[in-house]
């Protein structure tokens, strides 16, 4: 029935335990960036699709309500960009200046209008920002390019099938192989209305 009455071992181990915990807590660095939104919440938001803003709607906005953010690389930005756009490329979102700027505009609930070469590109940035908790970001639905020393912008239709697949496939299948081979059907291009808008000075 006897047990060791000595407490030496208990004391030593308890103190060690305490030390380990204290050291662990003191040396613990909080992860600087955490996603505030869970993946489920993000999905809910994605399905709504209200974070995509077309160029028309964008023009209706009051100037002071938004900041335009160019998420392309510095180099692309330097070549040409929308008027008043600020360059924060996606990979640099975590840089001090960028994150403090983003924070600032989210605090005054300005809308951060994101654009890139294509909405796809802006989408990456938007996903990142939304999950980080910036709920005020929107994607500007435009395609930008730099052609002939001109910064060009055009509208895009997202997720619009260019052709009616089933129909075209059927018509193609109905044709004899020989006919298909000879046929040079011009590629159907996205027939979005080309609107030249906001063409800045061209070049840097």
């Amino acid at each position: 029935m006897k047990e060791l009455e000595r407490t030496k071992r208990v004391s030593i181990s308890a103190v060690l335990f305490l030390l380990v915990v204290v050291i662990a807590v003191l040396t613990f660095k909080k992860p600087e960036y955490v996603f505030e939104k869970s993946a489920e919440e993000t999905l809910e938001k994605i399905v709504e699709k209200d974070y995509i803003i077309s160029q028309n709607d964008f023009e209706q906005l009051v100037e002071t309500d938004y900041e335009i953010i160019d998420i392309r690389s510095n180099y692309e930005y330097a070549k040409g960009h929308l008027d008043g756009a600020i360059n924060i490329s996606t990979i640099n979102v975590f840089e001090k200046e960028s994150s403090s700027f983003l924070k600032e505009i989210s605090d005054v609930s300005k809308i951060a209008i994101l654009y890139g070469e294509h909405p796809d590109e802006a989408n990456s940035a938007w996903m990142l920002l939304y999950q980080l908790g910036y709920e005020n970001a929107k994607i500007l639905c435009i395609e930008t390019s730099f052609v002939n020393n001109q910064f060009q912008v055009k509208d895009v239709n997202l997720e619009r099938p260019t052709v009616n697949y089933a129909k075209v496939l059927k018509s193609l299948m109905d044709k004899e192989p020989v006919v298909v081979k000879e046929k040079k059907k011009p590629k159907k291009v996205i027939t979005a209305p080309k609107k030249k808008k906001r063409v800045p000075e061209g070049g840097c």
């Binding site: 006897k2 047990e3 060791l4 407490t7 071992r9 208990v10 308890a14 335990f17």
Partner: protein, 176 residues
């Protein structure tokens, strides 16, 4: 030497030290495997294996056994079985170091060994039954459950010890 062992025989660790190490072990177990300790699961695997070898058709038709039987895997091929083997080894080592290994029956001087063994058997049967109903024994349900604040673990623990205190009076002769 022998004298020293004799003296050592009944000296156990300071309970707080034992508890502390056990706590660390539970942490380690959860950290490594994501689950707690257990003991009765191994015995269950043993029973299933025995029944399966003695009466295969019966084992497969019984709803409870068939839960643990699969075509390609023996029920003995289970984490808890290996753990139980480890327990046997570990306890043997500890007993060997302190010279506690001996054929022996623990009981109150007031009762005979036979009575003690009968009660042990009966208690074992009840405990086995209860452990299956509650899905775990003191180590699996109560101890490991409490470590992750499982409600079921706390309920089981309170239920075991509560009942224990209530019925302690009837079994006093066995122990005191």
């Amino acid at each position: 030497m022998k004298n020293k062992k004799q003296k050592n025989r009944h000296v156990y660790w300071n309970p707080y030290f034992g508890g502390f190490l056990m706590g660390l072990l539970i942490i380690l177990t959860f950290y490594l495997t994501g689950r707690g300790l257990g003991a009765s699961g191994a015995l269950k695997s043993g029973v299933v294996t025995i029944v399966d070898t003695v009466a295969t058709t019966h084992a497969h038709s019984n709803e409870y056994y068939s839960k643990f039987l699969s075509e390609d895997k023996s029920p003995m091929n289970n984490w808890l079985v290996y753990e139980a083997i480890g327990v046997l080894f570990g306890a043997f080592l500890s007993g060997a170091f302190t010279g506690r290994i001996k054929w022996k029956i623990d009981h109150s001087p007031k009762i005979t060994s036979k009575r003690r063994l009968l009660f042990a058997l009966g208690g074992g049967i009840l405990f086995g039954l209860g452990a299956q109903i509650a899905r775990g024994c003191t180590s699996g349900a109560a101890l490991s459950g409490m470590a992750v604040l499982s409600t079921g673990g706390f309920i089981t623990m309170l239920s075991i010890f509560g009942t224990g205190f209530i019925v302690a009076y009837f079994f006093r002769k066995n122990w005191i």
